[in-house]
């Protein structure tokens, strides 16, 4: 979407948001007045929401032009609470952002039901794959994926949605300003989402990042979503902020179960014990979403249900493997094992195990990273 030049009110709203205050205070400043009037009252110390006149110190001449220039440079549109462009799903929330900085199409929010897919930054490979698969299935079914842009689960879910080629573009809610993410991979993903979907932030471009902003940002994801799915999460992980925000709003929460004892699944398992919906993959998520919202969604076929069993009958995976590779494959689990453990389990020398793992990886039966290996589902049972 091409953004026209910002009008005077939008420029003042951006400058107000750039003063780096919490969302509630910003909302009070803008309540029942226009951004320009609020700004001028703040500058003269006569704003009723600022009885001590602290705004006088904050406001400097030229700040409005500066804020407008930053928005223009970042290609960001400004949407103020109460304006016709403001997304109705957020306007109805009890803690809405007073000013939204937007890249992409706001209409994405009207496309269909929305699922927030969130989780830990420090995910296992299996968790990343699950997040990607859920992102892709949700998008293919015509629903919208909402997530943060953190590495790990969040990025994978958004990536899955983008790659699926499904009709709905994903929505990324930033915990920083639009120009605030430092890592190149995040920047690339952010650009792609701005192109295909929507990127939201409540911070003015150029604002300094702060840790608390991420926790506050989570309420926006919860407010946008009709379902929050947690893929992997540590005990007391950041994704639980989103879960709590969702519970306060009555938004249902689902979690993907993981092995007992795996640190990255401890948080999700606890959610399940506490009564969260249990989902295994994208098919489960889409079915649950359809049930909860009444929307007509077609869950995609589960990739590893009946089809692979038929396929194993024709051509068993790992048919051409040598005996050592078969033993190595048998020793592998869905949970990653370290190389020492595989050598111990098979009793084969390290060199032979290394060759076997390479062969298994080539055939797509096992996957390894940094010395930790696991079996890929289709490879079971070995031939």
């Amino acid at each position: 979407m091409t953004t026209g030049p910002l009008d005077d009110q939008q420029c003042h709203a951006a400058a107000l948001a750039g003063l780096d205050m919490g969302p509630a205070r910003l909302r009070r400043l803008l309540a029942g007045t226009t951004p320009r009037a609020a700004w001028e009252a703040l500058a003269t110390g006569s704003h009723p929401a600022d009885p001590e006149g602290r705004g006088v110190q904050l406001v400097r001449p030229g700040m409005v032009e500066e804020a407008a220039e930053r928005c223009r440079a970042a290609g960001v549109d400004v949407v103020v609470l109460g304006s016709p462009a403001y997304p109705p799903c957020l306007a109805g929330d009890d803690d809405p952002p007073a000013v939204l900085f937007v890249r992409g199409r706001l209409t994405v929010l009207d496309d269909g039901p929305r699922v927030a897919v969130v989780g830990t930054r420090s995910a296992t490979e299996a968790g990343l794959e699950t997040a990607r698969a859920i992102g892709s299935a949700v998008a293919l079914a015509g629903a919208t994926v909402v997530s943060g842009l953190a590495t790990g689960i969040d990025s994978s879910a958004l990536d899955g949605s983008l790659e699926s080629g499904g009709p709905a573009g994903p929505v990324a809610v930033l915990g920083t300003a639009h120009d605030g993410s430092a890592q190149p991979a995040q920047r690339r993903l952010q650009e792609a989402i701005a192109e295909a979907g929507l990127v939201l932030s409540e911070q003015a471009p150029g604002s300094r990042g702060a840790r608390w902003r991420f926790a506050v940002r989570n309420r926006i994801m919860a407010a946008l979503a009709q379902l929050v799915v947690v893929v992997e999460c540590h005990v007391e992980g950041g994704a639980l902020h989103t879960v709590r925000a969702a519970e306060r709003r009555g938004v249902p929460v689902a979690a993907v179960p993981g092995a007992v004892g795996r640190a990255a699944s401890a948080g999700t398992n606890e959610l399940l014990v506490g009564g969260a919906h249990c989902v295994r993959d994208g098919t489960d998520v889409v079915a649950l979403l359809a049930r909860l919202t009444g929307a007509r969604l077609v869950p995609p076929d589960r990739p590893d249900a009946a089809a692979p069993r038929r396929r194993t009958a024709e051509r068993r995976p790992g048919a051409g493997l040598d005996p050592v590779a078969v033993r190595v494959l048998q020793s592998l689990d869905a949970e990653p094992l370290d190389l020492s453990c595989i050598v111990e389990r098979t009793g084969e020398p390290l060199g032979a195990v290394a060759v076997a793992l390479e062969q298994l990886a080539d055939q797509g039966l096992a996957r390894g990273r940094a010395g930790w290996w696991r079996r890929v589902a289709a490879g079971w049972p070995p031939g």
């Binding site: 830990t120 930054r121 420090s122 995910a123 296992t124 490979e125 968790g127 953190a150 590495t151 890592q183 992997e232 540590h234 795996r262 640190a263 990255a264 699944s265 990653p336 370290d338 190389l339 020492s340 453990c341 050598v343 111990e344 020398p349 390290l350 060199g351 032979a352 195990v353 290394a354 060759v355 793992l357 390479e358 990273r369 940094a370 010395g371 930790w372």
Partner: protein
């Protein structure tokens, strides 16, 4: 009257002969030292005068001038005290010039006339050639390692008697034999198949080793078992190590030549000078020189200051550290095997997928501590996991060090047949000649190169490690696919550190 006495001074780890010229002439009583003395040498004046007087000998009430030749070279340390005192005694006629002119004197004087030990005896005596040396009696054992004709002295008076033939030369004191060194054994290491293999390969091939793992995964336990696996030093290295230890003032075990490879493990608070060597005035050997021909173990590698670690890069390539200061230039040998141990991330749990609790910023900061070029120099980088409870309590004891030592010795012999000390020194040309790759092995490496998982420098490192693995397996000249796969699997520890890149 003029007297000339020989002595020597220390420069880095080399001795430098010095002539001590003492001139005693009529004039106002004074004692001056010229010829670029440092502070310790200037202080000699007070020690020498007090020692001579305490010994009951007369001090000339004349003008005494000492010149240290060659006068353009800076003289350091207190080792010239004895030569100055002997020079004064010769110049005042207390000793005959012919009794002292063919002997070199090294030693520090106490105010009571006793002769005290000084560091660097081995290189200093070694620099004298055929000239017999008199050294402090406590250093006599050390001096005799390089000069059997060396003699000891306990006090100035006793030395005077011995020189004049009226007293005996004291014998070297018996060095107390320390308790036998109990090396920790490999059989204590439970589980850790990959870590054990990596350690054995490192010992056999002299490869630099990086151990990455969470706290309690046995990194330090493994590293401390490396020195026992290494073969004893050859005579050339033994002398070189002894010279370095002597110059640094590190006591030699049992007063004998160093025969085991050194193992140095400096704390991560070490400064770059402490590690590399140098210092103001005297250029002292640093930890990397003390680890020459042995192992430098840097525990908690990422906690070392980044400039300190980067100072290791040049010596790692060249095996020598060239310390240059405004007034001194010293080359210190530093051919060491680097063993590093570190956590995969600040919280320590990052090697097992999904266990890390660090923020992205914290991980990125941590990864930046270790520069890419330094990481590149590790041939072996293994990721260790904590052993399981059953391995710790119920597992069978691992193979003992003795069996490993035998294999390491055989592998080193094979390397020696190729004209290198160990496989880590093989040049790319030698690799082509001595480590031909099988077709599948070459294909496996090509695939890695093409995918960018392996750099050209990395290729040679993997190739050398594969050669060592084949040597340990007792296989023929051909390096097979299995060896290359093993070599590749022994460097996946890099991936734990490069997760964010």
């Amino acid at each position: 009257m003029l007297a000339t006495v020989r002595s020597t001074t220390l420069n880095g780890i080399d001795g430098r002969p010095v002539e001590v010229e003492v001139h005693v002439a009529p004039g106002l009583p004074a004692f001056t030292v010229v010829g670029l003395p440092d502070a310790a040498v200037r202080e000699s004046r007070d020690r020498v005068r007090a020692a001579v007087l305490s010994s009951g000998l007369p001090w000339p009430t004349k003008r005494v001038t000492v010149n240290l030749a060659p006068s353009g070279v800076r003289k350091t340390g207190a080792g010239l005290d004895l030569a100055m005192a002997i020079g004064v005694l010769a110049a005042t006629g207390r000793l005959l010039p012919e009794d002292v002119e063919q002997i070199a004197f090294i030693g520090e004087l106490g105010l009571d006339g006793s002769i005290r030990a000084v560091p660097g005896i081995v290189p200093m005596v070694g620099s004298l050639g055929a000239t017999p040396a008199v050294v402090p009696v406590d250093c006599l054992a050390e001096a005799r390692l390089v000069a059997p004709s060396a003699r000891g002295a306990r006090t100035l008076l006793e030395l005077l008697a011995a020189l004049q033939g009226t007293g005996p030369w004291p014998d070297a004191p018996r060095a107390p034999a320390g308790p036998p060194v109990a090396w920790p054994d490999m059989s204590d290491v439970r589980g850790q198949r990959v870590g054990r293999t990596a350690l054995e390969v490192a010992a056999a091939g002299g490869h630099h080793l990086l151990l990455v793992g969470p706290p309690g995964s046995g990194k330090t336990m493994l590293a401390s078992r490396l020195p026992a696996l290494l073969p004893p030093l050859d005579p050339v290295d033994a002398l070189e190590v002894t010279r370095i230890y002597s110059a640094a003032g590190v006591p030699l075990a049992g007063g004998a030549l160093a025969d085991r490879p050194p193992f140095r493990a400096p704390h991560h608070g070490a400064t770059d000078v402490a590690l590399v060597g140098g210092g103001s005035g005297v250029s002292r050997p640093g930890e990397i020189s003390l680890a020459h021909a042995g192992v430098l173990f840097l525990d908690e590698l990422a906690e070392f200051a980044a400039p300190v670690l980067d100072a290791l890069r040049q010596p790692l390539e060249e095996g020598v550290v060239r310390v240059r200061r405004a007034r001194s230039a010293v080359d210190l040998p530093a051919r060491f095997q680097l063993v590093g141990a570190m956590n995969p991330c600040p919280c320590g749990e990052g090697s097992q997928p999904g266990d890390c609790r660090c923020s992205d910023a914290a991980r990125a900061r941590y990864e930046r501590r270790l520069s890419g070029p330094l990481l590149d120099r590790f041939d072996l980088a293994v990721a260790l996991a904590r052993p399981t409870v059953s391995e710790l309590l119920g597992g069978a004891p691992g193979e003992s060090s003795a069996a490993v030592i035998a294999r390491v010795r055989d592998a080193r012999a094979m390397a020696a047949a190729r004209g290198v000390r160990c496989n880590a020194e093989l040049t790319p040309v030698q690799l082509g000649r001595h480590a031909p790759l099988s077709d599948q092995a070459a294909e496996m490496l090509e695939r890695r190169l093409a995918s960018g998982a392996l750099s050209a420098r990395g290729l040679h490192r993997v190739w050398r490690v594969a050669r060592t693995i084949a040597d340990l397996g007792g296989a023929g000249p051909l390096v097979t696919e299995e060896r290359v796969a093993e070599a590749l699997s022994l460097r996946v520890g890099r991936e734990c550190l490069l997760v964010g890149r």
